[in-house]
Symmetry: C2
Subunit: 332 residues, 2 copies
Amino acid sequence: MHPPDQEELYLLYELQKPYIARTPLLYSETLSNLINGSVFIKAENLQRTGAFKFRGALSRLLQLSDSEKEHGIIAYSSGNFARGLATAGRLLGINIHIVMPADAPEIKILAARQQGAEVILCHEFSPSREEAASQQAIDLARQHNYTLLHPFDDLKLIKGQASVTLELLEQAQEKNITLDSLVCPVGGGSLAAGAKLAIEDCSQKPLLTTAEPEHYAGLKKSLVNQQHERDNGQTPSICDALQAVTPGVNNFDILRNSNSQCLAVKEVFIREAIQLSFRELKLVLEPSGAIGIATLIQYPQYFINQSVSIIATGGNIDSRQYRDLLIQDDIN
Amino acid sequence: MHPPDQEELYLLYELQKPYIARTPLLYSETLSNLINGSVFIKAENLQRTGAFKFRGALSRLLQLSDSEKEHGIIAYSSGNFARGLATAGRLLGINIHIVMPADAPEIKILAARQQGAEVILCHEFSPSREEAASQQAIDLARQHNYTLLHPFDDLKLIKGQASVTLELLEQAQEKNITLDSLVCPVGGGSLAAGAKLAIEDCSQKPLLTTAEPEHYAGLKKSLVNQQHERDNGQTPSICDALQAVTPGVNNFDILRNSNSQCLAVKEVFIREAIQLSFRELKLVLEPSGAIGIATLIQYPQYFINQSVSIIATGGNIDSRQYRDLLIQDDIN
């Protein structure tokens, strides 16, 4: 038996199981040596649709009312949520409409369309690409009576994302590992909020480390100042999936009282993490999916002698961009 | 209890367990759709050292006598066996010397050296690069009283390689899958011979399909003519690890009476398999590791409606070559 708060998370996880992959928890010798500890990669790039977002999207659709299902769904997304939602919609027979920023990676736009979703490209980028796309989705929902889903700031969805962490803790237990730290990439914060919920009543209580790109560290700013804040988002980041400048309200609420460590990560280490994943882990990671590994490379001192699990959230990257990111590796 | 012949294989597998990774068996939606069946990738690119060869090398070293351990080991290898052997040697404290063809991928040469092995580069390529390197290893063994290990034609090593298949069948059982086919890349044939031994007394009896590059299909030729033969090896192949022009004598003996399907695979499909693994599976595969997937792409008609497992044997590829192989993908 699980404690009452966790009961719901486990139930949602059970409902996902017929559709999702149980992604492996992979030991990395190279990363372990870096911190003189043990590092385990939760390889959600191997999840159906190539990213963890499928879990939350699916979970959310499974909880719709019949009338909501009938009218269809609209959401905005920079990519991985779009692909996850489109696939979940196809599997469950629900019409999906998605507003995406026009500069989203082509592979993500194509993938959503191939799954039968209607993709509307948003060419507005002010006040931020996320907020412009969000507004367009709100307008379309009103016009067409679609149900509007938020890509990360929705309590039902957050609880669905918790399954990544439940599964990871289950796998750690199977391997007799007690985790000291859990590293979560953060855009809007649903994965980290879900992780917080999953850890809460668990026998293992790894310290949650959140990883955000520099200039997009809205969660770090908010937690430091204990109020909902924005980062400047001025310099572009290669992490196309982590460009939310401020965390979701629900996510911030869940995370604000948690004992967590918030780190902002430089682009150069994200590139290095992608190359290391190629060379040593044999995993294709997109920049946003590699930021957890980059955190360990930039801040090894925070993880010395620890057992650490890093969520590698996704691997959806155009081959052109991937080739460019590997070039530096040739030179070394 | 296992039948007597299998008892030894399971024992060798048990001895490997403290050192090896239990690599995941991953379902692929894209490949499943291709044959209207179910395809599971045994991801040995995620094995320690980036390839399955580590299992056999380790297993072989674990069976050395004390005097053999003391004098050290010599072997020739085009790469993955070198890296696997070097790592196993380091772990077990045994001196390793390896003759490698001078044109072996730099990543493989470097990796063996980084693990403390002495690498001797062989610049002879006649009668074939494998045979020239082999001769040099034999000469050095005589001079220095090293124990000579054959990279694929050694019964103890073959039995060690069987652990890939034992593990895969175990995982299939855990997932309630009954496999119809098992696709094995073949260079010298130790993986396929090991697979044959593992399948022999198992409750699941998938049909063994061997995959060789065109012009290096020595096993196919030998099995068709029921005698040990050579392929011409005239056109170069991108599969640097599968350039044996003739199967090992022991491997041929084990495989000659088996009910197996031998396929020769064109380079263009190997390239496509690498791209598909990047795009859909998020796995980095080297050409030799992708040939099993290429087999399914070239010959889907042989696998229609089946449950198939493909061994993806390795992921050790230079980033420069990988980038070149992805270029075609950009154009599509």
